[in-house]
Amino acid sequence: MGELTPLSMVAGFIIAFQLIIIGTVFYVALSSPLSSTELLQEIKESAILSVETSLITTTIVLMLSIPVAYWFSRQDLKGKHALRALLSIPYVLSPSASGLILLTFLVKNPLGRTLNESLVIINSFNGIVVAQCFLAFPIGLIYFAAVFKTISPSLEEVARTLGYGRIEALYRIFLPSLKPQVVSGALLVFARAFGDFGASLILGGGIRGRTVTLPIALYFVNQYGDIILLAYALSSYVLIAYMILFLTSMLER
């Protein structure tokens, strides 16, 4: 244990307060037996759906945002800031507004309609992934562009004299050297996807048994009015979030 200083006391107070707040949910969940096992099963399925869609989203967003962010960090174009602001719009908008923008595009735009018909986006698993990608991409872009700016130009120059093209140097030299930062970026993207409610509901449709992610399930359980079930759902949500955070902090080492 460290020395008791004002700073450690403040930190201790915040940790204790956080534990009390979260602990209350677990206390409520464990204090009474569950009344509906069917709804519990649905919550489990929602949790699995949330993890599945968020993992797919994280993979897609990292694949897209890393090269684009690298390009942005190395270009000195005149319209760069305007372009970056355009790509980052969903970062500022509410998730439901982003979902509605996507829905309008998929319904009203011929290209959107074609995409929807071929990929089956609206009211489906794919819809949730598309919504989450739309929301999480700007986070990946902003985060990785900042990370890539820390790469010394001389490292890139040496890589070029050794025969590495820019993209090859990025994937074979720089990303492996930035492993902790890549893990942190992946966590940020995952968190945005995993926590989304509005966009996933609008594009996925919130169809019971098919497109209800954990945040949507929480909303439905809350409407249902069973506080014990709600506490169970919240506890599983918190547990998943904690496991992911713990895992990423291990990987960041």
């Binding site: 010394s152 001389s154 490292l155 120059e157 040496v158 070029r160 004299t161 050794l162 025969g163 590495y164 030299i173 492996p176 050297s177 492993k179």
Partner: protein, 379 residues
């Protein structure tokens, strides 16, 4: 062999280096000197293919690796950096911190069409040559600056380059370690016989490596000689770097062939010229150069019309073992005079109000070109 011809590099239409031309024979070492921001790194990067010059040609071992005429804005020939067979070591050594010393060196061979065994053998051999075997599995953050420099050199040399470009190789090395590292590098370069350019702002490197001296000042090469010696100080930057006094003056008249009367502040100085071929015009700006030693200092403090006598004020006296360096002010110009401790003790008692006279020995004063900030010749 390296030939650089009329090379101009500009960023946003602002020239950084202009019309640079020089030639190095195979195995020759060149020390590229110049003040900070004079364009040394830009020139090195242009030769390496890391920046695209506006115009000029770069020929390496009889192969044209770059050519642009400046009219179209596009290069006619521009061989990519890795195909130029150049070893490049930047000033921060650019080692990859997540890789071990062995893997950093191996990176130099990653793209070579060699078997794994051949690559491993080459890496082992260069690590052994440079006494780095015991650090093979160490990562760069755990190495000293000197060892980092060696690893960066090993990575460049393992590729067997035709040209080695070293950008400020000793800038982050502590003064105590520099001589040994210079010696190691010199031995290495002599054994490999690779054409090498060492960019530096430390004149010591020019003495150590006994190579061709190129001085880059204000965008242009202002001095190019096969070696450096203190009696051929013709360049303003070089003279200052060697500790010579360089004072701005104005030509009064040509006294006899190769000898000029120069006005320096309120005094007149008679100076010879060996380096300036052209005739200097009256009223033209020049520099006079004289060494800090061999100056006679007298405690007189009066306006003098004697030639080669400068009225000066003592600003500081820096004692170094048996020698004292006096910092003097002549008008608005600063002069350095090195005297023995005995001379200083004697002079100190006689000088009043820090005012004294410097008597310049006639044969040790030279007139050299004065460069404008962009490297053009004045006068």
């Amino acid at each position: 062999m390296l030939a650089v011809e009329e090379l101009t590099v500009a960023f946003d239409r602002v020239p950084i280096i202009e019309d640079i031309s020089f030639r190095l024979e195979k195995g020759e070492i060149a020390v590229l000197m110049g003040p900070n921001a004079s364009g040394k790194t830009t020139l090195i990067k242009a030769i390496a293919g890391l920046v695209s010059p506006l115009k000029g040609r770069v020929i390496l071992e009889n192969n044209l690796v770059f050519k642009a005429d400046g009219s179209s804005g596009r290069a006619i020939v521009n061989i990519p950096p890795h195909l130029r067979q150049i070893g490049y070591v930047p000033s921060d050594y650019a080692l990859f911190d997540h890789l071990t010393v062995r893997d950093n060196v191996m990176l130099g061979l990653a793209k070579k069409p060699l078997s794994k065994h051949e690559k491993e053998e080459k890496v082992r051999s260069i690590l052994e040559l440079m006494n780095l075997e015991k650090y093979s599995n160490t990562k760069p953050p755990a190495l000293s600056s000197g060892l980092k420099q060696k690893v960066a050199l090993a990575r460049a040399l393992v590729t067997e380059p035709k040209l080695l470009l070293l950008d400020e190789p000793f800038s982050s090395i502590d003064p105590a370690s520099k001589p040994l590292l210079r010696l190691d590098l010199k031995k290495l370069l002599n054994s490999y016989r690779i054409t090498t350019i060492i960019a530096t702002h430390d004149v010591e490197d020019a003495f150590w490596f006994r190579g061709r001296v190129l001085v880059l000042t204000g965008r242009m090469i202002t001095h190019n000689s096969p070696f450096l010696s203190d009696d051929t100080v013709e360049d303003e930057y070089l003279a200052k770097s060697l500790g010579f006094n360089v004072l701005e003056g104005r030509i009064v008249r040509n006294v006899e062939p190769g000898k000029y009367l120069v006005e320096v502040g309120e005094s007149l100085v008679l100076a010879k010229t060996n380096s300036i071929g052209r005739k200097l015009v009256e009223g033209g700006l020049v520099n006079i150069v004289f060494p800090p030693n061999g100056l006679r200092l007298t405690p007189e403090c009066q306006e003098s019309i004697k030639v080669n006598a400068l009225k000066a004020y003592l600003l500081d006296a820096v004692e170094k073992f048996g020698q004292v360096t006096l910092v003097l002010e002549v008008g608005s110009l600063k002069v350095r005079a090195d005297v023995s401790r005995g001379e200083w003790e004697k002079l100190r008692g006689e000088v009043s109000k820090n005012c004294l006279t410097i008597l310049l020995p006639e044969n040790s004063i030279s007139v050299i070109e004065k460069y404008k900030s962009n490297g053009d010749v004045d006068a």
